[in-house]
């Protein structure tokens, strides 16, 4: 346990030192990785219990557009706009989740319902083009550096916002993984009927993870849009984004706390690396590699990169312990 604490301390120190060591460009990637990483982590709240959503872009879109529209149209600060977006996302999750879980819609049926939900949100954003700008996207009104507007000219400041939020989400994940609740959810993931028979309120537990996941995803979507300062139905909602979330979470390892963030870092460095190496000549090359990797990960490494690393770390102490007996 002391090992873990030392590791956490070193990690935290590194996180604080990072913005002063990294060039701006890399800091930009790290900030995006943290923000997308926390969204992927929110997806894995449900994903790791077999509740796979391929429409999480819906919640991201609801969060991002709610806060941006409130700011642009009524001048409402994102500090209120983000919670408003989270509330809307939670309501959406309840409206979809309650009947689905009540009627035991699971597996790929549930996945297809979330796909439909993602389409509904993306299409509504496009349809409301008078205020959202439709497919052309929109820009939150810029006011320079302002804490009230959650806008920072200096990347280092935004970096600390991202780190703080990311740590909060990791904290939520740890809090959600405690004791009985986790055991109950794992049981549901294994066999719903048996879990029900064992006295677990399946409906309530599943709604709980769905709602938490939706709320965090909405917040992440808002802050991400706030950082990029540009919203587009393709980049914060829709099928493409939803599938990218799933891929990153699986590749990084959805069963590990840091896995989804590692996934975000991996996908971002892949895109950026290929862009720097080949320029725009090879547009689409990154997604080609994503696609192949996703297939390979699901076939050979369903627990993701950190899942494999965890496996090694856990196996290593055993031979040392054996001679002592």
């Amino acid at each position: 346990m002391i090992d873990a604490r030392i590791a956490a301390g070193i990690g935290l120190a590194a996180l604080i030192a990072l913005p002063f060591l990294l060039p701006t460009y890399f800091l930009h990637i790290v900030i995006q990785a943290l923000l997308l990483g926390l969204i992927n982590t929110a997806w894995s709240f449900m994903g790791r219990f077999g509740l796979v959503s391929i429409g999480h872009g819906a919640f991201m879109g609801v969060g991002a557009y709610t806060s941006a529209l409130l700011w642009n149209l009524y001048g409402v600060t994102p500090w209120l706009g983000i919670p408003a977006g989270m509330v809307l996302a939670v309501l959406l999750a309840l409206v979809i989740g309650y009947p689905c879980f009540h009627l035991k819609i699971v597996g790929h049926y549930f996945a297809l319902v979330t796909l439909a939900l993602g389409q509904v949100v993306a299409l509504l954003i496009i349809a409301a083009r008078d205020i959202t700008g439709g497919s052309l996207g929109m820009t939150p009104r810029a006011v320079g550096t302002s804490v009230l507007a959650l806008q920072f000219q200096d990347r280092t400041q935004f970096y600390f916002v991202a780190v703080l939020l990311w740590l909060v989400v990791l904290g939520i994940r740890a809090w959600m993984s405690r004791g009985m609740r986790r055991a109950a959810l794992e049981a549901i993931g294994e066999d719903e009927t048996a879990a029900e028979a064992a006295g677990i309120n399946v409906l309530r537990e599943k709604l709980w993870v769905f709602v938490m996941s939706a709320a965090v995803t909405a917040a992440g979507g808002s802050v991400f849009a706030q950082y990029i300062m540009y919203l587009n139905p393709e980049t914060v909602s829709g099928v493409g984004v939803s599938l990218q979330i799933v891929f990153a979470a699986i590749a990084g390892g959805m069963y590990s706390a840091l896995g989804p963030t590692v996934g975000a870092l991996l996908t971002l460095s892949l895109t950026e690396g290929l862009r720097v190496l080949f320029g725009t000549m090879l547009i689409g090359a990154a997604n080609t590699i994503y696609g192949i990797l996703l297939i390979l990960f699901i076939i050979f490494m369903p627990r993701g990169i950190l899942g494999v690393v965890d496996g090694w770390l856990r196996r290593r102490p055993q031979p040392q312990a054996a001679p002592a007996e």
Partner: protein
Amino acid sequence: MDIYLLEAVMNGIMLGGLLALLALGLNLIFGVIDVVWICYAELVMGGMYAIYWLHAVYAWPFLLACVAAIALVALFGLLMHRLIIEPILGSAPINQLLATGGMLFFLQSVATLLFGTDFRNVGIRLPIIELGDIDLSFARLLAFIAAIVGAAGLYLFLAKTYLGTAIRAIAQDREIMGLMGVDPRRIYLITSTIGGGLAGLAACLLVLQYDVHPFIGLTFGPITFMICVLGGLGNMFGGVIAAFIMSQIIAIVGYYFSVEISYVLAFVLFIVLIVIRPQGILGR
């Protein structure tokens, strides 16, 4: 009745034929192997590019290009099952869906790499049929007829042939069929090949109506999944009915409001229907 509304209804019927055809192959795979090929529309896109390339660039006759495209996509379906689905057939169904999601990314970006993001047209202009005051696109009528013929052909194959019977039996009970001397592995491979071939057939008809671009799959893919589920898995007839219901909603609501709102309503209807009738509109 408003003449434009009537035209919208007629166009809806034609769109229904196209959607029914698209849903056909997916429905077969969904029903028999219990796998969702989330990249199904991207297979169609691949077929469309194949036809474009063979016909518009290498100047093959259109029909020959179509036959080649159907064979190509059928082979792709076979390989996809053999290489991607088969190794993970034993794991949770959602994993298979996600693996084909990887294929979706792959196909989209390979198409972008090879052909760029330009919209490409095969350059075949079919005549417009005038029915009184209503204009009907011949390409759409062709798609409609092909969908009906395709559905009927598939129905006859499944109902009348030994192989078809084996495929239906596997869909009903996977475990017992192995004991009855049917090799599920072979049946799955055959089903995947037919499913791919049907995607190729859909490509032949779509290429007459739409320009090809790498992301065309996203425009009609999601609605196709909804139709399959609504029709009831593996229920060909249900799939056709669901395709016509969805296409009428899209056509009529699109006429009164906008295309986006019509699709929104179609997806909302899907969510509502799957919740009240998870077994599909014609489910047992």
